[in-house]
């Protein structure tokens, strides 16, 4: 059995920020990351970030990954990084089990920060299992991390920010985007992203859905169809599109399996992408000593994931008794940063969701004494 003070599950923007902050205040931190590299989904984000300077506005995601990694390595004495390590389970006694390069490891931390992120939702339609139907994020990984084109002609299903951004990045990689469709009557993502791809001549069809994919062993085409105001397909409006790739970009959902397993109180909050844990303002869940940060706490953007990471790292280190002179001030600053990131129409939805799961948790129990 290995021992650590704070285990951070996930080395993406939230996990790295949590680890940096906790290590800065003196805590011994172990970061567990299933990939061989750190940075999570930042590694494929070639676009520049919004927000303010504190969240690296106008810096590209790929560069933010390098910045966070080098910050973490400044605290080498306090930090252990397990790469290529997948957490398998989180048990009642607070033991994490890990598979790392074909070895089985048991780790007993005093505190755990779960920053596992999210996974891409799927959509049901005939032939939706054909190879060539990929998550939009998957295509982003293939192109921007490995330099491989997914195919020649793409249908993008979903006009949220990921759908719009990945459409633009497909064109940057030299791939033809035939159309972006969305079942909703209006574009879900920022109009600045939508305008960019419209200017390049890509149609964005709202109130359209995919009726079916065609092909035997892989995608050879798709049929899309218009929806009426009750979201029902209008027959006779079908259009066949000649594509070899269909990207699904219909949202993300929190990757919360470990929280379920340890018995955190969970609630279904559509505004946050699915089931998320109840938490207090320190980002501690209903299980004592288990903190959350980033998309697993509710789907948002990497900017807020980084701030949440810092908040969870700060509070976890504080709860271990590390002396943080300006703790209340630091905490307030982070909470204010989150508030300002959540200002505006998109933030309103998130705030509505958060209101339902953020509360003072009394009589917490868990494995921590």
């Amino acid at each position: 059995m290995k021992y650590t003070e704070i285990a951070v599950v996930g080395g993406g923007p939230a996990g790295l920020s949590a680890a940096i902050t906790a290590a800065k205040y003196g805590a011994k931190v172990t970061v567990i990351e299933r990939n061989d590299s750190l940075g999570g989904q930042l590694r494929k984000q070639t676009h520049k970030f919004f927000g303010s300077q504190k969240q690296y506005a106008s810096v590209r995601g790929i560069e933010i990954a390098d910045i966070l990694e080098s910050q973490l390595r400044e605290y080498n004495d306090n930090v252990e990084i397990l790469n290529g390590a997948t957490v398998l389970g989180l048990y009642e006694d607070g033991v994490l089990t890990i598979e790392m390069k074909d070895r089985y490891i048991k780790l007993k931390p005093d505190r755990i920060i779960v920053a596992t992120g999210a996974y891409e939702k799927f959509l049901s339609f005939p032939n939706n299992d054909l190879p060539g139907i990929y998550g939009a994020g998957a295509v982003q990984t293939l192109m921007n991390q490995y330099g491989v084109k997914p195919g020649r002609n793409v249908l993008m299903v979903g006009a949220g920010n990921i759908g719009l951004i990945v459409s633009y990045q497909l064109m940057q990689a030299g791939v033809n985007v035939k159309a972006v469709i969305d079942a909703a009557p209006k574009i879900g993502g920022y109009l600045v992203h939508a305008s960019k791809i419209r200017r390049l001549g890509v149609p964005i069809l709202t109130s359209y859905t995919i009726k079916e994919a065609h092909g035997k062993d892989w995608v050879e085409g798709a049929t899309i169809c218009k929806l009426d105001e009750n979201w029902q397909m209008i027959s006779g409006t079908e259009i066949d599109i000649d594509v070899d790739i269909i990207c699904i970009s219909v949202g993300l959902t929190p990757l919360a399996d470990l929280l379920w397993q340890i018995g955190c109180e969970m609630k279904y909050i559509p505004e946050l992408g699915g089931h998320v844990p109840i938490r207090d303002e320190n980002l501690e869940t209903s299980k004592k000593g288990i903190y959350i940060a980033g998309d697993v706490a509710g789907i948002e953007e990497a900017s807020s994931a980084m701030v949440e990471g810092r908040l969870a790292g700060l509070c976890a280190a504080n709860s271990l008794g590390y002396i943080i002179e300006d703790f209340e001030e630091e905490k307030q600053d982070l909470i204010e940063q989150l508030d300002s990131l959540r200002a505006g129409p998109t933030g309103e939805k998130i705030l509505n969701g958060l209101e339902k799961v953020t509360k003072v948790i009394a009589g917490r129990y868990g494995y921590v004494d």
Partner: protein, 101 residues
């Protein structure tokens, strides 16, 4: 299909890595996963569903969904989207649930 020109990214291909895919010799590059090397070579079908026999490719590319399971060096159910490509690997299309030998 590799990306040759990109306005933001500069892909420095590492050294060539040779591997065997269903008995054929193939080439990828250092830094590839098995899935990225296969996809670049035009291989999309990675396995067949154990009940329906329908073709399977990857879906998430980050190790979540288990749609990309293949047999690698005799070991079944390897998520090839997150498995680093190594010299001399023997990669096979998986049919069925796979067997540990």
């Amino acid at each position: 299909m590799r990306i040759d020109n990109h306005p933001i990214l500069d892909f420095k291909r590492g050294k060539e890595i040779r591997f065997i895919y269903d008995g054929k010799e193939m080439v990828g590059y250092e830094g590839d996963t098995i899935a990225s090397a296969l996809h670049a070579a035009g291989v999309r079908v990675l396995g067949y569903h154990h009940k329906t026999g329908r073709a399977r490719g990857f879906y998430c590319a980050i190790g979540n969904c288990s749609s990309c399971l293949m047999t690698v060096n005799g070991k079944p159910n390897v998520r090839v989207c997150v498995e680093e490509l190594k010299e001399g690997m023997v990669v096979e299309t998986q049919r069925g649930k796979g067997e540990l030998k």
